[in-house]
């Protein structure tokens, strides 16, 4: 059909005129713009009734009270709980991000068993039966002691259940992570002869000397410390920060004493010396102290401010001034525990710092140092052990270490200290060290641990020398992870029994360090469960029941809830109603004993690994509150707040002084190769005037391995590709899209370098714990 051209013109013009005079073009123009305002791929959150539910955040040991805002029962926001003694409405960025942990599609969504490089979904019954079967087998072989468990802490009923399982099976191999809390506990036991943990009444102290403790980088109970720190101005309290680098805490402090890294203990003893020689100490308090004379002589001879000034780089006059201010303060407080206090550190460093507290006598008083006796509020029914269990239980832990004594015996300086061993330190204390455990596994031909359970811990990320740790974990025939996430350790597991997140479960909580009161709290589920996960307590109870025999009868409860009610006892009603019970500390009735004999063998603190000749620099891990560096990896929100001087694209950025940069031949923004005796990494360089020359700072909390796992197969054989069956497409910088597997968290995974790849463990002879606080290193342009 051929249209005549003039007709065609008529047709076109007619159509144009007809369309123009109809509402079509105008409505379409308007509608297409409205369409762009209502794009179907931009989510529209449902509205509804707003409610708030309170619970406790357990992402870190701070345990803040939180209020979860919900819309028609859907959790949408986390806020700090007003009036809660820990945080009074304040909240850290990780707590706020809690819902990102909850709804994270990269969570382990159901129990899984690894076969080759494929994870297969199994039912909870199958998973429990599998684990219980292995335990039974070990019991039958009389090898119950080869069952081990790692948990971040041994506080609370959930950790208690794991420990109980081990005990009832017949294993002492229950390990917790080595943090400053352990060091303080050991120190209190050694100096004061008490079985107690340390607490610090920062909020009421008017003069704090902190030896590298990052109060505002996440040390102790972070939000409590933020509040205490910011009220300093009104309280006219002073903070002196001893740190080689202008950390946020140092910047916030009234005085910054940039002592060379590793000389903090010297500085502490130097201040002791100045206090003693100036007769500024609390003579009344010290009067009965053991070996005080010896200690005084020792510090005056070896740690006079003038001498210390040379090692630390701090002026003697400054040392004396601080000493005098500290001693004259109403409630002075000296604190040790570097950064977030996530590593044990050198016990002698803690001792040197604590000597300051002992000299002022501000112990167990408001604004001072507190020794808080462990109050076991949980009353467990006695457990049953059959012969096999009893026999196995008699064997000492695989990672057993001797501590405390080694520091004293065989010391050349023993002469000045009393030769009579005091009542408090007359025994070799044996404890179990996780670091040691992995060392033993690596050293043995066949792993002495047959089955490892990992609950609420990520040793393959948080322990020093992760390469060795991973090798050890790989050597263990059967690893069970209870993680909610495909973290660095879960990736190496054989079975994952995914736990609820803290928002999905109830548990009892003992708030710990840096609080001046005892708080027992009760968290309750405020959401979910989003996936087919279980309460970790329920998982253990189920395993125990499946193991049968005395193990099963040691777990008489139907489920965790019943267990919790029974072991908390009378206060359960109050707890579940009020949410928490707080009680002020009460000083112990008996006067506190002080024993200075620990310094008899003092030869400085645990040295760094590596020799100065080939590694001229000191590599120090640095903490920032914006990056989680313990069990939990940072959330997308948290990573978003991280500055580009810490993480740039996928590279860790190290911090050095411009002077160091000149020496090494790198400039700002350059790629550099950092080498330590343990490993090497390619990083980028950031120049910062606030760091001491010859020190290299590297941020903690990066370098989570992105899972190298292959497919995840559902029971029906289909591959798991996200919650709704659709592979989530994430657009990344540069505009390219790529498919993200269900268990890969690319918001933190694969970004940067894990500090612990570069730092090896160094056993502290005084505590037996891993006391590495840095390592020697060199850098070159890459």
């Amino acid at each position: 059909m051929k249209i005549d051209r003039r007709s065609f013109l008529g047709l076109g013009l007619g159509a144009a005129a007809g369309v123009t005079l109809s509402p079509m073009p105008w409505k379409l123009t308007d509608d297409s713009s409205i369409w762009s305002q209502n794009w179907p791929w931009t989510p529209v959150p449902n509205d509804g009734e707003i409610t708030f539910e309170d619970t406790i955040c357990t992402l870190c040991p701070g345990n803040c009270g939180i209020s979860v805002k919900k819309v028609d029962g859907r959790a949408i926001k986390i806020e700090g709980k007003k009036g809660y003694p820990v945080n009074d409405g304040g909240i850290c960025l990780h707590g706020i991000s809690g819902l990102q942990y909850l709804y994270d599609p990269s969570r382990v969504q159901f129990p899984m068993v690894k076969s080759g490089d494929t994870w297969k979904q199994v039912s909870w019954d199958e998973a429990v039966a599998l684990v219980a079967g292995k335990v039974k087998e070990l019991r039958q072989k009389g090898m119950a002691e080869s069952l081990a468990c790692v948990s971040a802490t041994d506080k609370g009923s959930v950790a208690g259940l794991y420990k109980r399982l081990l005990t009832s099976v017949g294993s002492q191999n229950f390990y917790t992570l080595e943090t400053m809390e352990k060091s303080w506990e050991m120190l209190i036991s050694r100096i004061h002869g008490l079985k107690a943990f340390a607490s610090f009444d920062l909020a009421n102290s008017d003069y704090v000397i902190s030896f590298g403790a990052g109060f505002i980088e996440g040390w102790g109970s972070p939000v409590t410390n933020f509040i205490a720190n910011s009220s300093r101005k009104e309280r006219k309290a002073k903070l002196v920060q001893v740190e080689y680098r202008l950390s946020n805490t140092a910047a916030s402090a009234d005085t910054w004493l940039p002592a060379k890294p590793g000389t903090e203990a010297d500085l502490a003893l130097g201040i002791c010396s100045a206090i003693i020689s100036g007769n500024l100490y609390n003579a009344e308090f010290i009067k009965n102290a053991k070996d005080f004379e010896a200690f005084a002589k020792f510090v005056n001879e070896k740690y006079a401010p003038e001498l210390v000034s040379r090692t630390t780089g701090i002026d003697a006059s400054k040392i004396k001034a601080v000493a005098s201010e500290f001693a004259k303060a109403k409630s002075p407080l000296a604190i040790a525990g570097r950064g977030k206090g996530e590593s044990a550190g050198s016990l002698m460093e803690f001792a040197a710092v604590h000597a300051l507290n002992c000299l002022t006598g501000n112990i167990n008083k408001a604004g001072g140092f507190w020794t808080v006796e462990r109050q076991d509020t949980l009353t467990w029914s006695s457990l049953e052990m059959d012969d096999s269990a009893t026999k196995s239980y008699a064997k000492s832990p695989i990672g057993a270490v001797d501590s405390l004594v080694s520091g004293v015996s065989g010391s050349a300086d023993a002469g000045v200290f009393s030769s009579v061993v005091s009542a408090v330190s007359n025994q070799v204390v044996t404890s179990a060290s996780l670091t040691k455990l992995f060392e033993v596994i690596n050293a043995s031909e066949k792993s002495p641990v047959e089955l490892l359970m990992v609950y609420n811990a990520n040793p393959c990320f948080t322990l020093h020398n992760t390469k060795a740790v991973k090798a050890a974990v790989n050597k263990i025939p059967f690893v069970v992870s209870f993680s909610s996430y495909m973290d660095d350790t879960a990736q190496l597991a054989d079975v994952i029994l995914p736990s609820h997140t803290f928002l999905e479960m109830s548990q009892d909580i003992q708030s710990g360090a840096s609080l001046a009161q005892n708080i027992t709290a009760f968290s309750k589920p405020v959401a979910g469960p989003v996936f087919d996960t279980k309460h970790p307590g329920d998982a253990v109870i189920a395993i125990a029941k499946a193991v049968e025999g005395t193990v099963a009868s040691s777990f008489p409860w139907e489920n965790y809830q019943e267990c919790l009610e029974s072991i908390i006892g009378d206060s359960f009603a109050t707890l579940s109603e009020e949410g928490y019970i707080a009680s002020e500390f009460t000083p112990p009735a008996a006067p506190i004993v002080v024993d200075f004999s620990i310094f008899a063998g003092f030869k400085g603190i645990t040295p760094l690994e590596g020799e100065a000749k080939s590694y001229p620099l000191t590599l120090m891990p640095i903490d920032t509150i914006r990056l989680a560096s313990a069990t939990f990896a940072s959330s997308p929100f948290a990573v978003k707040t991280v500055e580009d001087t810490v993480l740039l694209e996928n590279d860790t950025v190290i911090e050095i002084n411009p002077e160091t940069a000149d020496k090494v031949g790198v400039s700002d923004g350059d790629y550099a190769l950092i080498t330590t005796p343990v490993g090497e990494a390619k990083v980028r360089v950031n120049l910062f005037d606030g760091i001491m020359p010859d020190v290299v700072a590297i941020p903690e909390g990066l370098g989570h391995t992105i899972s190298g796992i292959g497919q995840v197969l559902r029971k029906d054989g289909t591959a798991l590709t996200g919650k709704k069956g659709a592979t989530s497409i994430i657009t990344v910088t540069g505009g390219t899209s790529k498919n993200i597997g269900p268990l890969e968290n690319r918001y933190i995974g694969g970004k940067g370098v894990n500090v612990n790849d570069l730092i090896g463990s160094v056993v502290d002879p005084a505590s037996g714990l891993d006391a590495a606080w840095g390592i020697r290193a060199r850098i070159s342009k890459a």
Binding site: W39, P45, N46, P222, L246, P258, V639, A726
Partner: protein, 272 residues
């Protein structure tokens, strides 16, 4: 729509104590979480990372060990503009009236669905408080469950910025209306998410027109000089540009106060 704001209207403002701020980032995340701010896999290019509340890190530029740093949280300044008449740098340039000045609140408000993405307002804002949605906002599968219905998620191609959590003001007003108090809102009833979250208590929020409110007490704004602080320790960012922000900073440290604006050689000493 020109009303002057010295009448009964509110003039919401914020005071941030820089000596208390620890740079912890709670305000940033509280803001993201409250306002459905999206995130990408790589957020390290800070020039295209949406952070309504951004914490700048300032240094005094001195060598070790005299170095000092200061963290400066920067929400939208909600500028009153020259003469405090509501002609904020961004509002006056928006060609589609997608952003405007609320004379009853002093808040620079915005319709995301009106914005067509010309980005002129971003060029106009000296504080970099405005952010463009270069990408479609995408949440990992299932994570969109936490999105709040109070703030509409923005689409690709539009500019967004801090709203002083205006929806919280709306919620407070809803309650006030419901309780027949009309729009009589108590100081505590309307607080922004960052103010509420800040663990250091460094942020104070309230009505600058109300002398009873903490913000007024802290900075003592001079109404005759477009709200210039009378507290000598307080300052506003880029005061000399006459943008007249409603966000004030307080610091005891002289170098910090000096960093709040530009001074030619010797000018600062003279201005003191």
């Amino acid at each position: 729509m020109t009303q002057d704001n010295h009448g009964k209207a509110y003039k919401f403002g914020m005071v941030i104590d820089l000596d208390k701020c620890t740079g912890c980032g709670s305000c940033m995340v509280a803001c993201m979480s409250e306002n459905n701010v999206p995130f990408k896999e790589d957020e390290t290019n800070k020039k295209d990372s949406i952070t309504w509340m951004k914490v700048f890190k300032l240094t005094n530029g001195k060598p070790f060990p005299d170095t000092d740093i200061c963290y400066m949280p920067r929400p939208c300044m909600h500028c009153g503009g020259k003469g405090d008449h509501g002609h904020s740098p961004c509002v006056s340039v928006c060609p589609a009236t997608a952003t405007d000045y609320g004379y009853d609140t002093g808040i620079v408000s915005q319709i995301y669905t009106r914005c067509f993405g010309c980005r002129y307002c971003m060029g106009a804002c000296p504080y970099h408080a405005r952010y463009f949605n270069w990408w479609d906002p995408k949440w990992p599968d299932g994570m969109e469950e936490y999105l709040s219905p109070s703030v509409s998620p923005r689409m690709r191609g539009v500019v967004e910025k801090c709203s002083f959590c205006y929806h919280r003001y709306q919620a407070a007003r809803d309650r006030a209306y419901h309780e027949e108090r009309r729009d009589n809102i108590e100081e505590g009833e309307y607080q922004t998410a960052c103010t509420q979250a800040c663990p250091a208590g460094a942020i104070t929020f309230g009505d600058l027109n109300n002398p009873e409110h903490e913000v007024s007490k802290l900075v003592k704004p001079d109404t005759h000089q477009c709200g210039k602080p009378r507290n000598p320790k307080a300052f506003r960012l880029l005061e000399r540009l006459q943008t007249n922000p409603k966000v004030y900073y307080i610091s005891e440290r002289e170098w910090v106060r000096k960093a709040g604006d530009n001074y030619r050689d010797g000018e600062w000493e003279k201005s003191k």
